[in-house]
Symmetry: C2
Subunit: 579 residues, 2 copies
């Protein structure tokens, strides 16, 4: 691997305009989001800013997407909060140290998976499970932010708990906070829905109007901050504000935290890595395809791994590729990860000199930003489509979403992974097995239950449409034994192996036992259409030796053999054979 | 389901002889084994006897095997000890109560899996992983029994730990205990190796000689007990003996144990259920096939589940089908589970009136029995064969065995399950995908890298040899995009779906995105040989509507279409399409 990325070596001047515009626009989105997601994760605001500098540069060096915008995102922030809340007090130095450790762990895992080329692990999660997880998380996040809108204290690890605590705390609502929060919420919802069409009517191009509408959260931040700073509602009305944000670039340091916490962070780190990776790759993939570019999943693992290591070392928390910011980055004309580097530099300037601007920013405004961002993640359409197309998938989606909402984010994702794995095992252990017969007058053989074919008396011919391995070989055995039991006069059992690309040790043992047990009962196992590489390995085994002369190139040849052999009774009796 | 088992309703008098002989012989094996495995599990001897009465009857009522001998077995006893040792002092009332609870939990899980027809879950474990687990457990068990041969106290949850503790305790070896234990070990090893041939030379039939050699452990028990009772080595030489075993049939009772332990027993119960089920079914299966009988995995779940519930309610510990006793049961002529019922009755007589006989039985003799029993479970041949046939399987075997030996029994089995699942995901996410071309002059299409075929300029034809679902659809996408990138003049991408039995929601989404993104680049997606049920569901989706007129019955028709369409430039350009 070359240490200078391709996009740097082949950089063209004409790309600079798009990269700069995109970098600036993403930065304007990133400032309120990084503060908000730090709040969501239970971390001080500066941690969100730290996570928006070096990680972007690290990803730009190693990632394969030209347009993915890396940084703090809603779901990973929720997962961070859920992992750390049992271990330390939110906002405390211990809690911050654990967050950086979580980021390092998650980064280390991603790098390891990348080095081992385990990108395929992301296929563990089916779309319905991911969709259910994201929608459930969005509900959980939105419910958790209501306390900031009301200006009350309330917790809860699941939605029921949260609602119950909110109901109890509601009488203590701070009216000014609620006014600011509800106003901001309304403004943001209106901006999302009507700002772009309105700007178009004013003469803006649709693309520019759409870009401008993404800046609404920043506008809300500026106006509300100015309002509180002027009216000093923090003092006069008890409005909760961000307060002093330490100025200065992040320091590179190893987190000082007891290694005893390492064990309890392993599972959360794994889940954050997995979910973050899957989300990132799917966003990056769909954007890349629009420009005929390619994403390399294993390079994405390295890019995201490096980003999280960078985040952990510079006082940040887990990051990944964000959906909304990536889409804006793409639409604003980003050509290369230079856009991300420009964002990082601008964020550096903000934190080095401008954090004072956020002092009077009300928490309620950040909460409103979060709520508006996550509500768009709730995907009812996916549920409706899955329900229409495949009920089992719809149930998996609902179960995952329900698990997140009713129990919590980790239980939900684990339930989703278990459901996906269960489906995988179920499918793998149910290979398609067809009994075949001859299409009359030809050398073609087809499924007896679908075509008019002729069979050979005393011969059972079975075609298995998958490689044989531990998860399905017992099923084949079961099927063959069932067929043999139903046809006691069977003399030959033929396995047509045209779709068998591999026979593993377990399947070999099953076939060996099957052959011996058939021989014991006076029946012979035949194989046909065994592929070259499979045959090479098979012929060196005990089964291969026993089957000598009974492995045929074509199903036709095996049928002919069975027809002729049925005139020679007793030939395959093998009373000495034992299982 | 009928409550009177089939074998009872159709019982034939001629079966009674075989069942009685087998029942008696298995009982003679079962007495020393049940005492020994209780010792291995850290339980008082009577618990082993309790686990050898009602569970046998429960299995006889519900199981599907005619010859499986259920009761305490070595590996489940080891797993019980490993699960309970962190929670209570071995041998204490709390420990016993936890063992019965573990048995109830494991039974409940097996019943649940049976009711949900989840027998296929056993396919999660590949043969190499099971073999490695059993061999590793055997080493761990044998090492753990050495302390009884030496007459010292020593613990250890893994082999290194055990060896270190034994080395430290060795100077305190009790010479008389060592004499009895080593003598017994030698006798049992000799009996296994030479007794049967020796009896044959004396004129016995090979079958009877083999049966008789299985009674050697009972002989060792009788001789050593008589010796200690006469010489009173328990007093004069400090030989550790079984001591008073409470007489009387087990009482039916719910274990009195704090429900707080339930959580920490869930995973062990699941693992014991899974391993016990897999072992049982494979023994039962291979025995049944010798007599052209069938095993029904879901009925085995019910039978083993009921056996464990019965064990838990009657003061026993987890049970399953034992390998050695089942083989003897079969060879001794058992025709039906009546053999097990006879064993249960005889065991009842023993515990009701004859426990006094075991008072002077030395622990060293039980340890020797265990060691001889488990040494035969170490399967080096399986490793050698796997190594020769499939290195990856051999590595899985070694890793599982190594995990058990070096870390412990739970870590080992979890590592094994993880390895098996990893293999499953790896295989599932690597479907066989072939680029196909026309066999010249025919309507047959074959893999271009294996056959001499002709392709159509501008057409990429891909055949995927598996159903499309979440674990492999991204891989297909990746492959297609790679092919398209290498052939920029592509106009048509054809998917030959002859092996696709299902397209799940995830794969549907991937195909939908692929079609749109190809259209965006001026390329058309074509499908051919889509199976009826797949087509029915597909045609109701957005993708189905977009593909109208581009789904062909045969690959030939699709090739013809692509050839004609390539004269009409730009037809599929679809600039409005967005991802």
């Amino acid at each position: 691997m070359n240490f200078v990325p391709d996009w740097v070596r082949h950089y063209q001047k004409s790309w600079l305009g798009g990269d700069t515009v995109a970098g600036v626009i993403v930065t304007v989105m990133l400032i309120p989001q990084s503060l908000a997601y730090a709040l969501l994760a239970g971390l001080p605001p500066e941690v969100g800013l730290y996570a928006s500098i070096l990680p972007l540069i690290a990803y730009a060096m190693l990632g394969s997407s030209m347009t993915l915008a890396v940084g703090p995102v809603a779901v990973a922030s929720l997962m961070t909060a859920s992992a750390l809340q049992p271990l330390a007090t939110p906002g405390s130095p211990d809690y911050v140290a654990l967050a950086t450790l979580l980021s390092l762990l998650s980064g280390g895992m991603l790098l390891l998976f990348g080095a081992l080329r385990l990108g395929f692990l992301s296929h563990l999660l089916s779309h319905p499970v991911i969709s259910g997880f994201i929608s459930g998380s969005a509900v959980l996040i939105a419910a958790g932010q209501v306390k900031h809108l009301l200006g009350v204290n309330a917790g809860g690890t699941n939605v029921f708990d949260t609602v119950a605590q909110l109901a109890q705390a509601a009488p203590r609502t701070n009216p000014v906070t609620l006014g600011i929060g509800a106003g901001c919420l309304l403004f943001l919802l209106l901006a999302r829905k009507s700002m772009a069409p309105w700007l178009v009517r004013l003469g803006a191009s649709p693309r520019r109007a759409d870009m401008a509408s993404k800046l609404a959260p920043m506008l809300a931040v500026l106006v509300s901050t100015a309002g509180v700073a002027t009216m000093r509602w923090d003092v006069t009305a008890g409005v909760s504000i961000v307060g002093a944000v330490p100025e200065g670039l992040p320091q590179i340091a190893w987190p000082t935290v007891s290694m005893a916490s390492l064990g309890s962070l392993l599972l959360p780190a794994l889940l954050i890595s997995l979910v973050g990776f899957v989300e990132s790759v799917s966003v990056a993939q769909s954007l890349a395809l629009k420009r005929q570019q390619r994403i390399q999943p294993n390079r994405e693992l390295l890019g995201l791994g490096a980003a999280n290591i960078a985040s952990g070392l510079s006082g940040g928390f887990p990051v990944t590729g964000g959906f909304a910011r990536s889409v804006v980055n793409f639409a604003a004309g980003a050509n290369t990860p230079l856009a991300g580097v420009i964002s990082a530099v601008l964020m550096g300037v903000v934190i080095a000199a401008l954090t004072g601007l956020f002092h009077y920013l009300p928490h309620a405004v950040l909460a409103a930003t979060i709520i508006v961002a996550v509500v768009s993640l709730i995907d009812v359409e996916a549920l409706r489509e899955a329900w229409r197309y495949d009920k089992a998938d719809a149930v998996a989606l609902l179960a995952t979403a329900g698990g997140v909402v009713a129990v919590g984010v980790e239980a939900g994702i684990l339930m989703g992974v278990a459901l996906s794995l269960g489906t995988l095992v179920w499918r793998s252990s149910h290979p398609h097995i067809a009994v075949v017969g001859r299409v009359p007058g030809t050398e073609h053989f087809r499924n007896v239950s679908r075509h008019t074919v002729t069979t050979e008396p005393g011969l059972i011919a079975v075609r298995v449409d998958e490689s044989l391995y531990f998860a399905n070989s017992e099923v084949l055995l079961d099927r063959v034994e069932g067929l043999v039991a139903a046809e006691p006069h069977t003399r030959h059992v033929l396995l047509v192996c045209s779709a068998v690309n591999q026979i593993d040790t377990t399947a070999l043992a099953v076939l060996t036992n099957l052959e011996r047990s058939l021989a014991h009962r006076g029946m012979a196992l035949l194989l046909a259409e065994v592929k070259g590489p499979v045959l090479d390995r098979l012929s060196e085994t005990a089964l291969g030796h026993r089957l000598e002369g009974r492995i045929f190139l074509s199903t036709h040849a095996a049928f002919e053999y069975a027809r002729q052999a049925s005139d020679m009774p007793g030939r395959y009796d093998d009373p000495a054979a034992t299982i």
